[in-house]
Amino acid sequence: MNAIRHHFSPLQRLLHWVMAICILAMLFIGVGMVSTIMPKYVPLVSIHKTLGAVILVLALIRLVTRFYYGAPPLPADLPEPMKLAAELSHYALYALMIGMPLLGWGMLSASAYPVELYGGIYLPAILPQSDSLRTLLWNAHFYLAFAFFALILMHVAAALFHALVRHDGVFDAMAPVPIHDEATRVEYKAAE
């Protein structure tokens, strides 16, 4: 057994891919719901609030697993600017995963809106009613959503770059199913 892990733990990988689906759905629902007056507006808003609460819980669990399990090291030959970009983008992704639901929750609270989730679950208000606070949070929630989506596109591009161009194991480290795990690589070498 190696001392250095090459993969994120199975729990981290599960959280990553489940949250990837949730967050992409969330961003599309968010940008779609504010552009429509069709009957689907009501269920979309309800899903948006509920999924936001789910993402917040998952993101907090994920943060704990990140502290507990850590992350596999980046390849030693990765250029420094790319290493820095990788690290900073991960900080930003965690900040957004946790921050966006809190901004949304705070915004609804400051608007004196009931925070009702699917199934008739009510969350308490986390801020007092305030038009100025609401405006601040609304702007943050709105503009950061586009920043979040742009960051995810960069993240996807970088992941594919590692997988398709560099073949350096970075994508494999978070792959939904192990692609080049230790056992298959040993067999591959033995077959050669």
Partner: protein, 352 residues
């Protein structure tokens, strides 16, 4: 760590093309979802543009029903509604009520006698965190059967073409009952004498899980004294607000809330179509208005009377309006809360 394996130049190029396609395709899907590629989509923004007067919207105010006054009181539920909805607000009891009497105009300075449509926004809060919000008007039917039709009506009403309304009314015969009401119905000299109708249909779910399509109304307890618009024009520009303030200072005013249950086959999706008079109607409680406060500092100012804020046991039906109203009210709320400095509160210093 697996060693990086060199890739042939052609496959590297192919990989970059693939990455570019994935990123550009995702961005395009996002832009489509946002409506940026669909200029014909009826967005909340377009609805607000159609509502705005030629001089532009009144900043800091609701984009429609802009003139109003706050009230507080209680909703006394008599428990009769519990037969058709499990909502806690319909169980017998007294629940705090907050609301707003208003005029259906985008102009907060409109003279009261000039506005045909009057409305009431209402929020009832039973103690368990649930809320029931609604916004109702004095007309017996709505002016359009779909949100698109309503948008067309707004465009026609705001058009410089003198024939625009005639053309609209001919293309939309469903407008006729509302048009006849607006033209012929008597006026009243007080919000306290107005009947307010929810017009949209909703679904009540009872404790056995059975659904009932309903519409609701608030019927004034005050004696109604019909007047003409010409009588009202002789009064001051704000007589409605002054009158209701005076009247409630001398005693609370009451409205009976009635819920009408549709028969199978009644039109639930079209608020231009009244249901026959013989439909089962249940008196579910009484709205008691106890106190009036000016809007600028009042408790209704920053409340969005979003008709889709409903307690468990009440939900939207196939009527497309509550969703459209919710979406448009939310946009109006975004705008006016950001413009609060254009609608100053009269009290300076920290709020108590």
């Amino acid at each position: 760590m697996p060693e990086p394996r060199p890739s042939p130049a052609r496959s590297v190029l192919g990989s970059f093309v693939l990455i570019g396609v994935v990123v550009a395709g995702s961005a395009a899907a996002f832009a489509y979802t946002a409506g940026w590629l669909s200029p014909e989509r009826l967005t909340p923004w377009k609805m607000l543009e159609a509502l705005a007067p030629p001089s532009g919207p009144a900043l800091g105010h609701r984009r429609n029903h802009a003139k109003g006054i706050c009230f507080t009181g209680v909703f006394e539920s008599n428990g009769n509604g519990a037969a058709i909805s499990r909502a806690s607000v319909l169980a017998a009891g007294q629940y705090p009520a907050l609301g707003r009497f208003n005029l259906g105009t985008p102009n907060p300075d409109a003279t009261d006698a000039s506005v045909r449509v009057r409305g009431i926004g209402l929020r009832i809060t039973p103690p368990d965190g649930q809320e029931w919000r609604m916004a109702m008007i004095n007309a017996p039917v709505f002016a359009a059967s779909t949100p698109d039709g309503f948008h067309e009506l707004l465009v026609a009403a705001g058009s410089k073409d003198p024939n625009a309304m005639k053309v609209f009314a001919e293309a939309h015969p469903e407008f006729a009952p509302f048009g006849a009401w607006a033209k012929n119905a008597p006026w009243t000299g007080s919000y306290a004498e107005d009947r307010f109708n929810g017009l949209n249909s909703f679904i009540f779910t009872d404790s056995s899980g059975a659904d009932h399509a309903v519409r609701w109304s608030l019927l004034p307890e005050a004696q109604v004294e019909p007047v003409t618009q010409d009588d009202l024009k002789k009064l001051g520009p704000d007589f409605l607000e002054q009158e209701i303030t005076q009247r409630i200072r001398s005693g609370p005013q009451r409205w009976t809330m009635t819920v009408t249950v549709a028969n199978p086959g009644d039109p639930t999706a079209d608020p231009t179509k009244a249901w026959p008079d013989d439909r089962r109607t249940i008196e579910v409680g009484t709205l008691v208005v106890q106190r009036i406060e000016a809007e600028a500092d009042g408790p209704c100012r920053d409340i969005n009377f979003d008709p889709t804020v409903l307690p468990p046991g009440i939900r939207t039906s196939d009527d497309p309006f509550p969703a459209a109203r919710s979406s448009v009210y939310a946009k109006s709320y975004d705008l006016r809360t950001a413009e609060a400095k254009d609608y100053p509160r009269t009290v300076t210093g920290p709020k108590p």
